[in-house]
């Protein structure tokens, strides 16, 4: 889908594309962001994951320079978004929620108009190819399907050849097919070396797209890291299971020492923070009692979904 070549991001004073420390925000005396710390490295996809109302869009609006924060330090590409929004917008592409197009304009016409806004735009043909809209270049925007409109959103966000791209819930309201195509487009952007900060409340999306995840909940970053780190830091255990050997079920052999094994009929299960150690013990125990390699042995890493559900259980919305 891509014909765009990757250009290396320009390093700035900060080593991070986005650097946020102690970010606070209040609306009408109510604090909605309680001191956020997070950062996005150059070339990575960071996903700000959280339920509706967690403050994702507000955070993004501050990074985009649409709102001035109540407190804390924010740097985007080394710039202060609230103080230098115009300079920032030459280097950042944004896909906002619910952003319309002018009526009665054609696809290529609109992209070309947008290119004119930037100092060093991408060529029109490249942009049309990159979002798979070359065939619709002369279509009026109002006749595009929902998925095509979203891809046009991307084309406009890419028109200025940005170093950093903000995507605010890019697939909300999409059917599964449109969502998959949108994901492919985002993966394409990542392939170009673009730094991407995306918000979502879909776990699947975060798991699929993100290099790192920050879970935002009621105005706080609960956890941040890679999918695996987040799950581990949430204190979730790796699950090890195997088919219960008949000898064990009949009580003819003892339970393994040092392992919290539960026999659930045909399946035996244990949860552990140290999978390697537990497996070693388990296999030694199996060899000792002539159980071989244990039938149906399965090791399941803690999943983001488990972490997320554990964190947000009790939240509404």
């Amino acid at each position: 889908m891509s014909v765009i070549d990757a250009r290396p991001p320009v390093p700035v004073a900060d080593d991070f594309a986005v650097h946020v420390r102690g970010l606070r925000m209040s609306f009408g005396g109510t604090e909605v962001l309680h001191g956020l710390d997070f950062e996005v490295r150059y070339g990575e996809v960071l996903c700000l994951l959280g339920p509706n109302g967690a403050g994702k869009t507000t955070t993004l609006e501050i990074l985009e320079g649409f709102r001035a924060p109540a407190g804390g330090r924010v740097r985007v590409l080394g710039l202060d978004p609230a103080a230098q929004p115009a300079r920032l917008r030459e280097r950042v592409g944004m896909v906002l929620q619910e952003c319309g197009f002018p009526r009665q304009v054609r696809v290529a016409e609109l992209i070309d108009l947008w290119r004119g806004y930037y100092p060093s735009p991408r060529p029109l043909g490249e942009l049309l190819e990159a979002v798979d809209l070359a065939g619709a270049r002369n279509t009026q925007v109002r006749r595009l399907s929902g998925g095509q409109r979203r891809r046009l959103d991307f084309a406009l966000a890419l028109a200025g050849d940005p170093e950093l791209i903000f995507l605010d819930e890019p697939t909300t309201g999409f059917d599964p097919e449109a969502r998959r195509r949108c994901w492919a487009a985002i993966e394409n952007l990542r392939g170009l070396g673009k730094t991407i900060l995306l918000t979502t409340h879909y776990l699947e999306e975060a798991e699929r797209l993100a290099d790192r995840i920050a879970i935002l909940r009621t105005g706080r970053i609960e956890l941040a890291g890679t999918t695996h780190e987040v799950a581990v830091r949430a204190g979730l255990a790796t699950r090890i299971s195997f088919t219960t050997p008949s000898a064990l079920r009949r009580g003819q052999i003892p339970l393994p020492d040092g392992i919290d094994l539960t026999i659930r009929g045909p399946e035996s299960v244990c949860h552990t923070a140290n999978a390697a150690m537990t497996l070693r013990l388990l296999l030694a125990w199996a060899t000792e009692h002539g159980l071989g390699d244990l039938d149906g042995l399965a090791v399941t890493a803690p999943r983001l979904e488990d972490t997320y559900l554990q964190l947000t259980s009790g939240d509404h919305g």
Partner: protein
């Protein structure tokens, strides 16, 4: 600076292209004043203002010119900006480095083009169909009045766009907020009179009658419309100030 102008021109060209692409909208914008011009004009052919030798049409045609300016500048620009805001187009513009001046400049330039086209049509048809043209030597005064009217009502259009909350109500609000005033200002009826004193005073406050009188002065000899010019100037200032104060990039 030249970059801002270039971007504004590009924006204006795209606005014009979109305007003419929605044929029914463009047609209606032009057809409304022209239909009124032809229908009411035909009813006034041969009549004179009571007690004078001034033909009704020489007062009526510049009245419709004023009406055309208001449709192009106030109704079109006001409802357009309201729809752009409602649709999130303004919000999207805000994500780019395009300056507010270049964008709004483009919208205003496009409005001026529409206003020129529509007043040219109205003036030409008024002249060809009813023989009503500006007095010799008053063409410049007429052009000045049209420019002042366009600026004034564009400012008011921007102002009213900020109080319109939905795309659906944009057109109706824009029309309903000036048509009643246009009617009691006598824009459609050269012989219109007999308003109660308080209503006449109210009409004199609004800029519709003021613009009509400024333009009528270029067609028929009347007292120099000094107060009307002051009136338009004040409304331009008030409309402009309100537009700037209340302008929002999104709902």
């Amino acid at each position: 600076m030249s970059r801002t102008v270039r971007l504004a021109v590009r924006q204006a060209l795209l606005e014009q292209r979109s305007f003419w692409r929605s044929a029914e909208y463009a047609l209606f914008t032009f057809a409304f004043p022209l239909m009124i011009l032809l229908l009411i004009g035909a009813a006034n052919v041969g009549s004179h203002l009571p007690g004078t030798h001034i033909k009704n049409t020489t007062v009526f045609v510049p009245g419709i010119l004023a009406f055309s300016v208001i449709v192009a500048a106030y109704v079109n620009l006001g409802s357009k900006v309201a729809v752009l805001r409602h649709d999130g187009v303004l919000k999207r513009i805000r994500t780019t480095p395009l300056s507010a001046g270049a964008y709004l400049g483009g919208l205003l330039a496009s409005t001026v083009v529409t206003a020129i086209l529509i007043t040219a049509c109205t003036g030409l048809i008024g002249w060809l169909a009813f023989g009503a043209g500006p007095r010799p030597g008053e063409l410049l005064a007429l052009a000045g009045g049209l420019v002042l009217g366009t600026v004034c009502f564009a400012a008011l259009g921007l102002a009213v766009s900020s109080v319109i909350t939905s795309a659906e109500s944009a057109g109706p609000v824009a029309y309903a907020s000036f048509l009643p005033i246009a009617i009691i200002s006598g824009v459609f009826d050269p012989t219109f009179s007999g308003l109660p004193a308080w209503l006449s005073r109210l009409v004199a406050i609004f800029p519709v009658k003021a613009l009509a009188e400024v333009l009528q002065n270029a067609y028929a000899i009347r007292p120099f419309p000094a107060w009307d010019l002051v009136n338009l100037g004040l409304w331009t200032a008030v409309g402009g100030a309100f537009a700037v104060w209340r302008f929002r990039w999104h709902n």
